[in-house]
């Protein structure tokens, strides 16, 4: 398994952890009624703004832990080599991510036009970012598994 393939698995696991954390926080705060009222959207935005660096921090932490676990288990260091095949696969992953996010964005706009609340539309957009990240990593992993 190449460095970038292992990184893709680490990113997929990290994304799942961060998305679970985001979902838990948003659902809990929503149930508490934190986003209700005229200032609900501002409170939602502030909530997401502090969660982004937390998500990045968790991502870095999980990646480092997985890299260490791999090194300790298989006694093999990350060589960091990224070649042309890796770059093509990564680009394919980005394409899948972009398509998923764009589709989610349009779906959120359509939902808003159909009369859902702005908060739900914003949550749909956030969910499309999460789905795009997962779909991109899954697409990369699929390409690696089949060889190209």
């Amino acid at each position: 398994m190449s460095f970038t393939e292992r990184s893709t698995i680490a990113e997929l696991v990290t994304s799942l952890a961060v998305i679970a954390l985001f979902t838990w926080v948003i659902v809990t705060r929503q149930a508490e009624g934190a986003f209700a009222g005229p200032e609900g959207l501002q409170i939602w935005a502030r909530q997401i703004l502090w969660m982004i660096p937390v998500g990045i921090g968790v991502g870095i932490g999980v990646s480092v832990l997985l890299a260490l676990a791999y090194h300790v288990t298989l006694r093999e260091a990350f060589d960091g080599l990224v070649d042309e095949r890796d770059r093509i696969i990564v680009l394919f992953g980005w394409k899948v991510t972009a398509i998923t996010i764009s589709t989610g964005f349009v779906a959120a706009l359509a939902a808003l036009a159909w009369g859902v609340t702005p908060l739900l539309a914003l949550n749909l957009m956030l969910a499309s970012f999460a789905a795009g990240d997962l779909a991109g990593n899954a697409a990369r992993l699929w390409r690696y598994r089949r060889g190209y």
């Binding site: 190449s2 070649d83 042309e84 095949r85 890796d86 690696y144 089949r146 060889g147 190209y148």
Partner: protein, 68 residues
């Protein structure tokens, strides 16, 4: 449909059973890329094709063939 085939496996054998790992290191790619090339799952860029041919000291067309 045109297809790019290669003789990397035979050339490795001729070069004293050079491993995929050795070839990968000398061509500057991962072992998985060499494996994908040998399996016919991946066609290299011209740059990589020349680098692999240079490792074996062969002209490009002896390593890669364009089958129509």
């Amino acid at each position: 449909m045109a297809q790019i085939t290669n003789t990397i496996r035979r050339l490795r054998f001729d070069a004293g059973e050079m491993t995929q790992k050795d070839l990968a290191a000398r061509a500057g790619v991962t072992r998985q890329t060499i494996n994908a090339l040998e399996a016919g799952k991946y066609s290299p860029t011209l740059d990589l094709a020349f680098r692999i041919a240079r490792v074996f000291g062969k002209p490009l067309e002896e390593v890669f063939q364009y089958d129509e």
